[in-house]
């Protein structure tokens, strides 16, 4: 019994969709008297999950967006309560769903180390004893007594990460969000996690990044639609996941939370659809024709607004930007009601990798009234676009270009 670190028995988690919860009293009243339960949509993010993790194991949790990975982490880190089931954690737990939780911009670096460390579960004495190490690791010792609002974003992240890196839990629960940021930070983060895993601690790691999962973990758990799909050795899980992933559902690329927020007075983005026109049933690869359709609802007239899309790579670098107006000069007017604006990209010029797409709704005079960052996460598969046997990735540039070479012996 004592070698079990995490024991989960039949955990389920239900969410009520829509805004029925944090609504105003008057809405609550209306729903109390209307017996129309159909408008309350239930969503089971986790369905009867059971699993066991032994002490000292590093377990990767994989699955598509919406498979329930993050919900499982939130339940196990006790941020949210399960609807059914029970679980047991044997040991001191730290969960890292982001770095710098609770950082206050007005406080100095020194104060924030104490604040953040305490929030993460360290005692003041523990922080005091590790204080010098934390400061040295972060490399911001010169600015220790400066409010962090004056820090650069790099300094901020470094300080936040070095606090997190000095946690000494027996069970560590980490979300992949930690693995975004600049490349150096990612490397540091993965290195630290590897170190933690090798010290015989129990690690639960959620990620899309199969390379990282494969490197850090010995075991894997694959979730699908809120259920445990497969448990096994990490290599088998990673293999299975890649096969599984090729049965696609592009809706998984849309960040529903961002979509929900993509609205302003009189305009709401309702749904985004991505179609692979070249190979409708497979994942999007370099060189495919791809259509993005944006379904909206307008409650008033918008004269010549613009839709804009910014394609970014994983580091947030803008790769290219497309818009109806002014870039393409395509004019649209929106009227009351539903509609759809679609964009077709012929021969997608992106090379293999993950990309993010920001959506923007721009009124006349170039005023962004909606800027939905990271609305779409686009996974582009590698493909031998030139037919040369070479699959293009980031090592050969951001994009590929449809082109021809010609060689002639005729002299000028």
């Amino acid at each position: 019994m004592s070698d079990i670190a995490i024991k989960v028995e039949g955990i389920s988690k239900k969410y009520i969709l829509g805004h029925k919860h944090s609504s105003t009293i008057s809405e609550r009243f209306q729903s109390m008297f209307s017996r129309n339960n159909a408008e309350k949509e239930e969503f089971w993010a986790l369905k009867d999950i059971s699993l066991e993790v032994k002490k000292g194991e590093a377990v990767g949790i994989v699955g598509k967006n919406g498979a329930g990975k993050s919900t499982l982490l939130k339940v196990l880190s006790r941020i949210t309560h399960p609807t059914h089931g029970r679980f047991e954690l044997n040991g001191r737990v730290s969960s890292l769903l982001e770095v710098g939780t609770g950082f206050h911009p007005e406080l100095t670096g020194r104060d924030n180390i104490f604040l953040n460390g305490t929030i993460l579960g360290m005692s003041r004495n523990e922080i005091r004893s590790k204080f010098d190490e934390i400061v040295e690791f972060s490399g911001v010792s010169k600015f220790l007594d400066t409010p962090v609002k004056h820090y650069s974003s790099g300094m901020y992240v470094r300080l936040a990460f070095s606090v997190a890196a000095h946690l000494e839990p027996e069970i560590l629960i980490i979300d992949e969000v930690l693995a975004v940021g600049d490349a150096e930070f990612q490397k540091k983060c993965l290195g630290k996690m590897d170190e933690v895993a090798k010290q015989g601690r129990t690690v639960l790691f959620v990620s899309h990044n199969m390379a990282a999962v494969g490197l850090l973990c010995q075991k894997g758990i694959m979730l699908n639609k809120g259920e445990v799909h497969l448990v096994g050795e990490i290599d088998d899980i990673v293999k299975e996941y890649s096969v599984f992933q090729s049965s696609v559902n592009f809706n998984n690329y849309i960040n529903q939370e961002v979509l929900e927020l993509s609205k302003v007075d009189g305009f709401a983005l309702k749904h985004v659809k991505i179609d692979n026109l070249s190979n409708p049933d497979s994942l999007i690869s370099s060189g495919d024709d791809v259509r993005f359709s944006f379904f909206y609802q307008a409650d008033k007239k918008f004269l010549s607004p613009a839709f804009a899309l910014i394609f970014r790579d994983q580091m947030g670098v803008e790769v290219f930007r497309l818009s109806t107006k002014p870039i393409s000069g395509y004019e649209i007017d929106l009227f009351n009601g539903l509609g759809c604006v679609s964009l077709e990209i012929r021969k997608l010029p992106l090379v293999k990798g993950s990309y993010f797409v920001d959506f923007g709704f721009v009124r006349e005079r170039m005023e962004w009234i909606i800027k939905s960052e990271l609305l779409i996460q686009l996974e582009v598969q590698g493909k031998d676009v030139y037919g040369s046997g070479l699959i293009l990735d980031r090592s050969r540039g951001f994009i590929w270009v449809d082109h021809n070479w010609e060689h002639s012996n005729e002299s000028l």
Binding site: S22, G85, V93, T101, D111, P147
Partner: protein
């Protein structure tokens, strides 16, 4: 260390012993608020003093001089400042803890800790201003040469009641605001309304004398009515604790206990709906 979470467990566990584990967090959150409160202000601490001083000035002019409220042998400014000290603390803690959960939503969605720590830490933050007001009170009593009553030994009981009434109302508001943002709008209103619906600027005998009995009972459902009377009774030795006062004391405990239970209930879904 072993943690067990069960969804179907019956009964409510207030989990107050867990708060002890998180006492450092409680202290540091209070420290944060305290530091941030006067960050980049020119007058700093002085603000904690200006606000009650100005209110006292207005009260003295309006109620003391213009309306000539009868406060017996106690000079009006001393009479009013005692009530104000209790009320200032109450209103500060109530409004700060009432909005605290919404204010900490980013934290709540990212990490676990007993959520009670957040509104509770405001109790400590408020104490700093409270001490400043108490110093002000003592100075006023010295200026007007009003002696302390022997009943001052009972003051700690009323201080405790002041704390838990503020916390009780604050916890209710913070938990309710998670679900219904309407309560955000109620807080400033409650502060203003309460200032007049509590015997701060006038003696409670005025209320008992001039209002019908049912309305007096209603008046004493205000948990602060009894606390303010208790302050005056123990510090100045005026007034008496009657049956109405005890209704008010009972309300303090009712608010406090019920707020803990309700807060615990909402806590389970807090991260999902905040």
């Amino acid at each position: 260390m072993r943690t067990v979470v069960e969804s179907d467990k019956k009964g409510i566990n207030l989990g107050l012993n867990e708060l002890i584990v998180y006492k450092d967090l409680f202290l540091i959150l209070a420290y944060r608020d305290f530091k941030v409160r006067y960050a980049q202000t020119y007058l700093g601490f002085f603000w904690a003093f200006i606000q009650p001083a100005m209110t006292l000035l207005i009260f003295t002019l309006v109620f003391g001089k213009a309306a000539k409220v009868d406060t017996g042998e106690i000079p009006y400014p001393v009479f009013a400042v005692v009530g104000m000290s209790a009320w200032a603390y109450f209103s500060y803690v109530m409004s700060q803890s009432g909005t605290s959960i919404i204010g900490a939503q980013n934290m709540i969605k990212k990490i676990y800790f007993p959520r009670l720590v957040i509104p509770m830490s405001k109790v400590l933050v408020g104490l700093i201003d409270f001490v400043i007001v108490l110093v002000f009170l003592v100075v006023m009593m010295m200026i007007y040469e009003v002696p302390f009553s022997g009943k001052i030994v009972f003051l700690p009981a009323f201080l405790v009641m002041n704390v838990i009434s503020a916390l009780g109302v604050g916890l209710w508001l913070s938990a309710l605001t998670v679900r219904y943002r309407d309560f955000q709008h109620i807080i400033p209103f409650a502060v203003q309304f309460g200032l007049y619906a509590t015997p701060i600027a006038y003696p409670s005998s005025l209320v008992i004398k001039s209002l019908p009995e049912w309305l007096v009972t209603l008046y004493y459902l205000n948990p602060m009515a009894g606390v303010v009377e208790g302050y005056r009774w123990s510090i100045l030795g005026i007034g008496e604790l009657n049956i109405y006062s005890f209704i008010s004391f009972f309300m303090v405990f009712l608010f406090f206990v019920s707020s803990l239970i309700y807060f615990r209930k909402v806590e389970q879904v807090m991260a999902d709906i905040v």
